[in-house]
């Protein structure tokens, strides 16, 4: 599992440089522009290491370190200071507070990596050369690229709720948490999520208000929202349902409740096994199934994108169960119209591979081919110019 580093620095430049220097090692970077936000992010993200600036507004490095070390949950996270502040007395004071090490600005990549290697285990033996690092950076998963697990955002101000949900969801999800509405807003601006567990009763902004603010963005990323409340909060539940929140997780919840809901949201498996007859997305053509992406302007595109991780995935599983092993996917620029769809599609391809199905991709326009090249995960996929050519290639 890749390591994650929280960089707390008021300078965006410094945060970008740290990201650039650590990218070849596959390190995930979490950013905070001041100490207060940094402590919140440390609570929510539980990083493997914190890089902390000293000279910052809101809370300086000393106050931030004190805040981190007085919290029993955060105390074990190693903190390395990345700072221009190298006055001996100050450094001794920081080390007495629990600072693991410090790196003086300005710093080279070598200095940063060598200091962090004993803590993060970035490489074995000699430090990789600049040439090797450049190659590693190309191969490493870039920030914001497509992760291999569904992304879940939990928005709740209660630590125990976040902890329980993380535990119940398990290792199969990339879970990010936000302890209040404003942090959640920032998370939604920065990332793409498959599902959001949203508490209706947040301290700074109600769940309803938050949902109203981000509804369009969530729809654009095809994220499914689960409201969280007590069963007795009838008014909030009614309002949320009127706004479009269909699923609810009622507190207190059990592990079974969470697993059932997550499976249904991510993979379209209904616990009750009941419901309306689903629309069929795969079209049979002899012993081949064909999945065609709608065009960019097709009104059904949104529903199609939403179905990628649920109904379509289910249909692919069913075709495998029926003994059909050949799948043709006809792509369109509609697929690349939003990042969430691309992510779901890559996940679907993984699913297809796990089922050992033979799949052929058809890109019959230059625009589709061009858009494929923009995503590193899909740039090298072989495509065919027509469905006929793809079908013939099965032999």
């Amino acid at each position: 599992m890749s390591k994650r580093v929280l960089t707390i620095d008021d300078s965006k430049t410094l945060r970008l440089i740290v990201g650039k220097y650590l990218k070849p090692f596959g390190v995930g970077i979490i950013e905070a522009d001041n100490g207060a936000v940094g402590i919140e992010k440390a609570k929510a993200e539980n990083p493997d290491l914190i890089l902390l600036d000293y000279n910052m507004p809101v809370m300086d490095g000393l106050q931030t370190l004190e805040g981190l070390k007085k919290d029993p949950a955060l105390r074990p996270i190693p903190v390395v200071m990345l700072t221009t502040e190298t006055v001996k007395e100050t450094v001794i004071k920081l080390i007495k507070l629990g600072l693991k090490d410090y790196i003086a600005k300005p710093f080279t990549r070598e200095a940063l990596v060598q200091k962090l290697n004993p803590i993060l285990g970035l490489y074995e033996g000699d430090m990789p050369s600049e040439v090797d690092l450049a190659a590693m950076a190309t191969q490493a998963q870039p920030q914001g690229s497509i992760p291999d697990k569904p992304a879940v955002l939990i928005v709740d101000d209660k630590d125990n709720v976040i902890k329980l949900l993380r535990e119940y969801l398990g290792e199969g999800y990339n879970v990010v948490a936000a302890a209040n509405g404003h942090t959640a807003l920032a998370r939604i601006q920065q990332g793409t999520f498959d599902s959001i567990f949203l508490d209706m009763d947040l301290p700074d902004i109600s769940g309803i208000e938050l949902y109203k603010k981000v509804k369009k963005q969530l729809e654009a990323m095809s994220a499914k929202v689960v409201g969280m409340s007590l069963r007795t909060q009838v008014t909030e539940i009614t309002q949320a349902k009127q706004l479009g929140i269909r699923e609810f997780l009622y507190k207190p919840f059990s592990k079974g409740d969470v697993e059932e809901l997550a499976a249904m949201l991510m993979y379209g498996k209904s616990a009750a096994g009941a419901g309306d007859a689903p629309r069929k997305f795969l079209v049979a053509d002899g012993n081949i199934r064909i999945l065609s992406f709608p065009d960019e302007k097709d009104p059904s595109l949104k529903a199609f994108a939403s179905a990628l991780s649920a109904e379509i995935r289910q249909e692919v599983s069913e075709m495998a169960d029926e003994g059909v092993t050949r799948l043709i996917v006809k792509l369109s620029p509609g697929l690349m119209s939003d990042f969430g769809s691309v992510k779901k599609f890559v996940s679907l391809l993984d699913h297809v591979q796990r089922l050992t199905l033979s799949v052929r991709l058809v890109a019959d326009t230059d625009k589709t081919k061009e858009q494929l090249r923009q995503y590193s995960e899909m740039a090298n996929l072989k495509t065919y110019d027509s469905v006929d050519l793809a079908a013939a290639s099965f032999g």
Binding site: T13, M56, T84, T86, P106, T108
Partner: protein, 161 residues
Amino acid sequence: MQEIAWSPEVIDDMKVSLVKALEQVFTTMFNSAITVLPVVDLPDPKHLSALVGFGGRLSGFLCLHFSGEAACSIASGLLGMPMNELDDTVFDAAGETVNMLAGCFKNQVSKTEEMFKISVPSVIQGREYNVHTRANSHQVLFGVSTGSYEFVAQLVLEQKQ
């Protein structure tokens, strides 16, 4: 507290410390050597000035003045990506450069005791502004060339009474 005698030699020492700090920052972060140019006028029209304040036994400020192109080059050098417009990223990069420079300069002059603390950086952008200093302050002002672009370094110091 011993008073600093602001002789020409002391001012020269400050300049030497600042040049060493500039060399350290540009060698480490930009992989670039620098050349000190004769005293020059501030760029006109000015585009961007990044400064850090000092407070303590010594007070004053350290400021780097850039043309728009030089500021973009500074940001490109730090981030390793082309920057062509004066935007928040360029302002932040200029601020971080002067911040690192101030830290290095502080370490140069605070070897036996802490001479001052440094503020968070500020960046000023505009065309018709001037930087005025107090009459009893001491100033070091010189141009710097990296070979690709030039900028002006300005150090203003005074001793607390």
